[in-house]
Symmetry: none
């Protein structure tokens, strides 16, 4: 049962098949490897690189967990070529550092627009180099830009993390709802009442109840047990614990 619903989810995720993640002039092999890892995590398997630092690309290919994805990466010498077959080209930016000619959408807004297009056509999302981001020539190929809503005091993100967050947003809503482990059945009133009465017995044996009005303690305990929102299993476990404690209280606490 579980497996089926999982399988269905990954099918939906595979709609990122039409997405091309384009890394332009990446310098650091660790970032290239990290970007590839995140792509593999979220099912975006088509990586394109434009003029990566030679060393970065070579070393990144050994990235554990994403070797195949990196081996299948397509290498281009110009952004124009890398996006030539795409119907929508979106640049990512931290904004703020220059006058922009493009519309800028927040990731959650832009993500929705991208998902719509991905249903039918190839879409490229571009990430610039760690140091300078996308250049004007790269930007000129973009239909619009997208930014991750970070804090004004610290706008610029690590490249691998920016790719991860972007792909999470793109994969997020395409994914069928999966629910967590089935919650245990809630305890029924009779179970809660048994817990309550054994607790009250133990309190009586221990002299707690005599400290205050007995009736008030009983109501207080009953309400408290109800508020606990016990599931049926927990009610049984708690009952077993309290019974053992009660038995000990009655048979004489610490042996001499």
């Amino acid at each position: 049962m579980k497996r089926q619903s999982e399988a269905k989810k990954w099918q939906v995720l595979s709609e990122l098949d039409r997405l091309r993640v384009v890394l332009v002039a990446t310098r650091n092999p660790l970032n290239l490897g990290a970007a590839a890892l995140a792509m593999s995590n979220f099912g975006a398997l088509r990586l394109r690189v434009v003029n990566p630092y030679e060393l970065a690309f070579r070393e990144a290919r050994s990235a554990v967990g994403a070797a195949e994805l990196l081996a299948n990466a397509e290498e281009f010498t110009s952004t124009a070529d890398a996006v030539a077959d795409c119907a929508l080209v979106v640049g990512t930016t931290a904004v703020g550092h220059r006058e922009l000619q493009h519309s800028v959408y927040r990731l959650d807004e832009g993500g929705g627009l991208i998902r719509q297009q991905l249903a039918t056509v190839p879409v490229a999302v571009l990430f610039g180099s760690e140091k300078t981001g996308l250049g004007n020539e790269d930007l000129s190929h973009c239909h619009w830009l997208m930014r991750i809503p970070t804090r004004e005091k610290h706008i610029s993100m690590n490249l691998g993390q920016a790719v991860a967050v972007t792909l999470y947003e793109l994969a997020r809503n395409g994914v069928t709802k999966a629910k967590g482990k089935q919650a245990a059945a809630p305890a029924i009133s009779g179970e809660m009442e048994r817990v309550t009465s054994v607790l009250l017995e133990a309190l009586r044996e221990s002299g707690y109840s005599s400290q205050v009005a007995e009736a008030s303690t009983e109501e207080k305990a009953r309400r408290m047990i109800r508020r606990m929102d016990l599931n049926s299993n927990d009610a049984q476990v708690l009952l077993g614990m309290l019974r053992q404690i009660l038995w000990k209280l009655r048979s004489g606490g610490s042996e001499p």
Copy 2:
């Protein structure tokens, strides 16, 4: 005009003030630094580390862009201490590798629940070590678990990227405003831990714990107490009851 709406947005982001990001047994300084960077990006400035590899913590402190955040990180020797002041404790998991006792929410669902709590109380989100994730002892402090919806063939994420994606989700919609009648304040972890430890003492005195493996009883009891969803008042009442019972168990049960 744009600036104003931007400024307003950052105000919302700063509501992650009540979030504590707890990294347990982190091994790699690059991951610690990357986690700190993502925290700074999304305005979650309170980092707690539990038993990081000494070298990892020392080297990470030089992480460019997050040095101050790392310098202000609080170091703990146990998960219990690291979450003691938090009313909600959420573990992150890749699931799949073991039977889980907890409910597991997808990040987008769990994120909503966390945002609601962050409006009023401190919340801890735990990330385990790169190699093994969170251990059973760590998990026993958690109210529930959360997973990032990754592809079945490649479930496990890089630590720094998992932190980035999680914080993006939490910052994305801002923190939910608390509405309606104020419910009783939820018990914080420290209160729940006191209840747990007095209960365990009582179980030990009554001979319950010796019936089965002691460690397993401890984790079972801890998880059960967390599931009870106690408010602070109830935690105090329950603690008083259990202390009285424990006192009686120790002083000798039924008088002759």
